[in-house]
C-alpha cells in the first residue's frame, strides 16, 4: 500500500530571488524600465544626459591652463584639432584665481621676500614669478587665511558637540581678532571694542540684583555705547603709543574683494542675523505694545523692500546724509544692511518655529515657575529652533548667495571682478570659464551648509515621528 501523502520533513534551502528582480538589474526594471513609456523616457533622458556631459567635457577638457590670453587659448585649441563649437580657456583662471579669491588685498611682500630672497618690490610686481603659487596663497595672504581658520575654530564649539569646551574662549575672541587681522592697524582698537562688551556684561551682573532685570538690561546696552562713543577711541590711542602694541599694516575696505569679500559679508550677516532674528521674532510675539510695533514695523518694512534698494541706500544715500568728512566704511555699511535684511527673514522663520510649538509647552514652562527668559532658553527656543533648522539654513544660504548683489554697487566681489578681468584685452570675451569657477566656489560653501543642516536635523531628531 502506497502512501500518497507527502510531508516535507526538512525546509528547502532558500533560493536566490530571480536575477531580474534583485540587484542593479532588478532595480532598473523596477524603476527605469517598468512599462513601455517609462522605457522610452529613460532612454531619451539617458541620451540627453550623455550628450550634455560629453559636450561639457569636450568643452571643458582643454589643455589651456597655461595660456596667457584668449587668442593663445584659441591657438592651443586649434592645435589639438578640436572641432567642437568652442573650447574652454582655463588660462584666465590660472592667471586670476588668487584675485578671484582674495580681491585686491595687499600681499605681505616682506614675508614673501624673506622666504624667496627676491626684494619686496619684485614680489609686488609679480609675486608668482618668484614664489611658488601655493606659498603666495598661504603666506602672502596669511592674515586672511588665519582669520578664516580662527572663524572655524571659533565656531567649532557651536557646531560640533565633541569639540573641547575650552575653544569657547576663541569663540568669544575671534570676531575681534579677525577684525584686527583683516583691517590691520593697532590691536588696541578691537581690544577696546571688546572691553565695551565686558563692561556691558558687568553692568548687567552688578545691576541685576540691585535694580531689577529691566534696568540692568537697559544699562548693559547704554554703558557699552557710551564707552564706544566717547571713551574707547582715546583709550585705544593711549595704549597704541605704549610699548605693548601689535600693529599690522592697515588695509582699507576698498581693497577687499573676491570670494573673501563674499565670505566676510556672508559670515557677518549669518552670525548677526540669527540672534537678531530671534529677538525680533520674540518681540513680534510680545505683549508690550511698543516692542511689538517696532518689531512688526521693522520686519515688514525690510521684507517689503528689495535687498538691492537697501544696498543702494547704503552705498549712495547714507554718504550724502552724513556730515561731510565722516568716513563710514562702505563695507561696514553693506554688512549692516545685509545683516538687517537677513534678520527680518530670520525673524519670520523663527516665528514659524514658535508657532509650531503646542501651547502646552508654554503652559508647562509657566507651571514650572520659570520666568520669561528661562522659559525661552530652556523650553521654547530649543524646540522652536530645532523645528526651524531647514528654514534657518535656507535663509543662510540665500543671504550668502545674495552677497553677489554687491557687484551692482561696484564692490569687487567675484561677479564684479569677472567684469574687471574681462576689461583686460587679453581676457576680453571670456564668460563661462569665470562663471564656472565662481559657481564652484559658491557651490562648495552652500552645499556644505546644506549637508551640515541635514546632519544636525538627524542628530537632534528626538523621535516624534
Amino acid at each position: 500500500m502506497s502512501n500518497i501523502e507527502f510531508v516535507r520533513t526538512e525546509m528547502l534551502p532558500e533560493k536566490e530571488p530571480p536575477a531580474s528582480t534583485v540587484g542593479p538589474i532588478g532595480w532598473m526594471r523596477e524603476n527605469l524600465f517598468n512599462g513601455i513609456w517609462n522605457s522610452i523616457i529613460t532612454v531619451l533622458f539617458v541620451l540627453a544626459i550623455v550628450w550634455t556631459v560629453l559636450s561639457l567635457l569636450g568643452w571643458g577638457i582643454q589643455p589651456t591652463w597655461n595660456a596667457k590670453s584668449l587668442s593663445e587659448c584659441r591657438e592651443i585649441i586649434a592645435a589639438t584639432g578640436y572641432t567642437g563649437h568652442s573650447g574652454a580657456c582655463w588660462g584666465v583662471i590660472n592667471d586670476r584665481w588668487l584675485q578671484l579669491l582674495y580681491g585686491f588685498y595687499p600681499l605681505d611682500a616682506n614675508l614673501l621676500s624673506a622666504v624667496s630672497g627676491a626684494s619686496a618690490a619684485e614680489i609686488l610686481a609679480d609675486p608668482r614669478a618668484h614664489v611658488a603659487t601655493p606659498i603666495v596663497m598661504i603666506l602672502g595672504y596669511w592674515r586672511l587665511n588665519l582669520a578664516i581658520i580662527l572663524l572655524f575654530v571659533g565656531l567649532a564649539p557651536v557646531l560640533i558637540e565633541r569639540a573641547p569646551r575650552k575653544l569657547l574662549i576663541v569663540t568669544v575672541l575671534f570676531p575681534f581678532i579677525d577684525v584686527w587681522l583683516m583691517w590691520g592697524g593697532s590691536i588696541w582698537g578691537p581690544a577696546m571694542a571688546f572691553v565695551g562688551f565686558v563692561l556691558g556684561y558687568f553692568a548687567f551682573k552688578i545691576l541685576a540684583p540691585i535694580a531689577g532685570t529691566l534696568i540692568a538690561v537697559i544699562m548693559s546696552a547704554v554703558v557699552p555705547i557710551i564707552w564706544w562713543l566717547f571713551l574707547s577711541g582715546s583709550a585705544a590711542s593711549i595704549f597704541a603709543g605704549s610699548p605693548i602694541d601689535l600693529t599690522l599694516e592697515p588695509v582699507s575696505s576698498r581693497q577687499f574683494g573676491g570670494f573673501f569679500l563674499s565670505i566676510s559679508i556672508g559670515v557677518v550677516a549669518i552670525l548677526g542675523s540669527l540672534p537678531l532674528g530671534i529677538v525680533l521674532a520674540l518681540g513680534r510675539q510680545s505683549d508690550l505694545f511698543i516692542v511689538k510695533a517696532l518689531c512688526v514695523g521693522f520686519i515688514e518694512f525690510i521684507r517689503g523692500v528689495p535687498l538691492i534698494t537697501l544696498l543702494f541706500v547704503a552705498n549712495n544715500l547714507l554718504n550724502i546724509f552724513m556730515p561731510p568728512g565722516t568716513n563710514f566704511d562702505v563695507i561696514l555699511r553693506v554688512m549692516i544692511m545685509v545683516t538687517l535684511f537677513a534678520a527680518a527673514y530670520m525673524a519670520e522663520v523663527v516665528r514659524g518655529g514658535l508657532a509650531a510649538l503646542p501651547k502646552g509647552q508654554y503652559e508647562a514652562a509657566d507651571a514650572l515657575g520659570l520666568d520669561y527668559w528661562k522659559a525661552q532658553r530652556l523650553i521654547i527656543m530649543p524646540q522652536a529652533l530645532k523645528i526651524s533648522i531647514p528654514g534657518i539654513v535656507s535663509t543662510f544660504i540665500g543671504v550668502f548667495k545674495d552677497t553677489t548683489l554687491v557687484s551692482i554697487i561696484s564692490l569687487m566681489d567675484p561677479i564684479g571682478l569677472s567684469n574687471a578681468i574681462r576689461a583686460n584685452q587679453e581676457w576680453n570675451g571670456i564668460v563661462w570659464e569665470l562663471y564656472a569657477f565662481i559657481a564652484l566656489l559658491f557651490f562648495v560653501v552652500c552645499f556644505s551648509m546644506s549637508r551640515y543642516s541635514m546632519f544636525l536635523e538627524r542628530k537632534l531628531q528626538t523621535g516624534h515621528k
Binding site: 584668449l70 587668442s71 584659441r74 568652442s86 592667471d95 586670476r96 588668487l98 584675485q99 580681491g103 585686491f104 609686488l124 610686481a125 609679480d126 609675486p127 582699507s252 576698498r254 581693497q255 543702494f312 552705498n315 549712495n316 544715500l317 554718504n319 550724502i320 546724509f321 556730515p323 561731510p324 568728512g325 557687484s407 551692482i408 554697487i409 561696484s410 569687487m412 564684479g416 567684469n419 574687471a420 578681468i421 574681462r422 576689461a423 583686460n424 584685452q425 587679453e426 576680453n428 570675451g429 564668460v431
Partner: protein
C-alpha cells in the same frame, strides 16, 4: 521726472555738505591719496591686472593728476564705480575726480552740478555687423534686430537715428558688454551698437574679427572726459590743466623719454613755461613749478598714453581719428600755456 528731482535734491544736499569742507586739493594733500573714480572695467580705459594694479586710458588721467598734486603717480585710490553709482560717488565727496568714460552732456554739467574739465576721448556711437549680412551703411538696416545696452544714451541715440531715417528696428535689450558679445555672436541680433571704442575692443576679441565690420556711420557725439564737483574751482583748474598739460606736451613734442633733457631748459618758451623752468604757472595753480613735468613723466604725454592703452599697437587697435592733435586734423586741442 521724479528720479531727476530726487537726484537733483541729493546732489544739492551733497553740494551743501561739500561747501562746508576745505578745498578738495587740501583734502587730497592731507589724505596723501587721490580718490579717483574709474569704471569697474572697460577694455583699454580702466582695468586691474592680475596683481590688482589698475591701468588704462582713464586711469592714466588719475595718475597724472595724482603726480601733479602729490608728486606720486601711484598715490591713487581707484574706486570702481558703475553707471549707477558714479554721480552720487562724486557728489557725496567719496571721490575727488571721476575719470570714467563719462559723456559730457548739458544736463550732467548743469543739472547734476558737475564740471567737466575737458575731453580726453572723442567717441561716438557706431554699429557692428557681420560681413555676411551684406550691408555697407547703417541706413540699410531697416528691420534689423539690434543689441543695445539699456539705460544709456546709446539707446536714445539709436531711436533718434532710426526715426530720422524713417526705418524700423527691433531692439534686443542687454545689460552689459559681455552679454552683448555673447548675444551678438550667438546671432540673437544682427547689429550691435555702442560706442565705437567699445566696438573696436569687442571686435578685437572675436575668433574671426574679419567676419565682422564696423559701419562707417557714427550717429552721436560722445565727448568723454574727467569731471569734478561744481563749485571748487581751484581743484577743477588743477584737473583741467593737468589734462591740458598732457595734450600740450604731445603737441610740443615733450615725451616721457626726452622730458628730463627738456626740463633743463629749451629754446621754446612754451615748453619752458609748461615744465616750470620759466614763469610761475605752477604757483598760480597752487602747486610747485614741476607739477606738469611730474604729470607727464608718469605715463607720458597724451599721445603716448593713447598708444599704450588703446592705440594701433595694442590689441584694441583704435586709430587716432578725431583724437589726433588739431595740427594733425583731429579735435585734441589745448589752450596755450601762458
Amino acid at each position: 521726472m521724479k528720479k531727476s528731482v530726487i537726484l537733483g535734491a541729493i546732489t544739492v544736499a551733497g553740494l551743501a555738505a561739500g561747501a562746508a569742507t576745505a578745498g578738495t586739493v587740501d583734502d587730497v594733500k592731507a589724505r596723501g591719496k587721490l580718490n579717483c573714480g574709474v569704471t569697474t572695467g572697460v577694455p583699454g580705459f580702466a582695468a586691474p591686472d592680475a596683481n590688482g594694479n589698475w591701468a588704462g586710458f582713464d586711469v592714466a588721467v588719475c595718475r597724472a593728476v595724482a603726480a601733479a598734486v602729490l608728486g606720486d603717480g601711484t598715490a591713487v585710490e581707484f574706486i570702481p564705480t558703475t553707471g549707477k553709482t558714479r554721480f552720487t560717488a562724486l557728489a557725496s565727496g567719496e571721490i575727488d575726480l571721476l575719470a570714467r568714460n563719462t559723456t559730457w552732456t548739458f544736463s550732467r554739467d548743469v543739472d547734476l552740478k558737475f564740471d567737466f574739465v575737458g575731453v580726453n576721448y572723442y567717441d561716438g556711437q557706431g554699429f557692428m555687423v557681420p560681413v555676411e549680412l551684406g550691408v555697407s551703411s547703417a541706413k540699410e538696416l531697416d528691420g534689423a534686430t539690434v543689441c543695445i545696452q539699456t539705460g544709456t544714451t546709446t539707446e536714445l541715440n539709436l531711436a533718434d537715428f532710426f526715426r530720422a531715417n524713417n526705418i524700423s528696428y527691433e531692439p534686443v535689450p542687454i545689460e552689459t558688454n559681455a552679454e552683448a558679445q555673447q548675444q551678438y555672436l550667438a546671432g540673437a541680433c544682427d547689429v550691435y551698437t555702442t560706442d565705437a571704442s567699445a566696438l573696436a575692443a569687442t571686435r578685437a576679441t572675436f575668433e574671426a574679427p574679419d567676419a565682422h565690420m564696423v559701419l562707417p556711420e557714427i550717429i552721436s557725439k560722445e565727448p568723454l572726459g574727467p569731471l569734478v564737483r561744481h563749485g571748487d574751482n581751484e581743484w577743477g583748474d588743477i584737473a583741467r590743466w593737468t589734462l591740458n598739460a598732457l595734450i600740450t606736451a604731445e603737441e610740443l613734442g615733450v615725451t616721457s623719454a626726452n622730458i628730463g633733457e627738456m626740463a633743463n631748459g629749451t629754446n621754446n618758451p612754451e615748453i619752458n613755461r609748461l615744465l616750470g623752468t620759466e614763469g610761475n604757472l605752477g604757483e598760480m595753480l597752487g602747486l610747485d613749478a614741476d607739477w606738469a613735468k611730474r604729470a607727464i613723466m608718469v605715463e607720458g604725454n597724451y599721445g603716448e598714453i593713447f598708444e599704450k592703452n588703446i592705440g594701433l599697437s595694442t590689441p584694441i587697435g583704435i586709430a587716432r581719428g578725431l583724437n589726433a592733435q588739431w595740427t594733425d586734423g583731429g579735435l585734441i586741442y589745448s589752450p596755450p600755456f601762458r
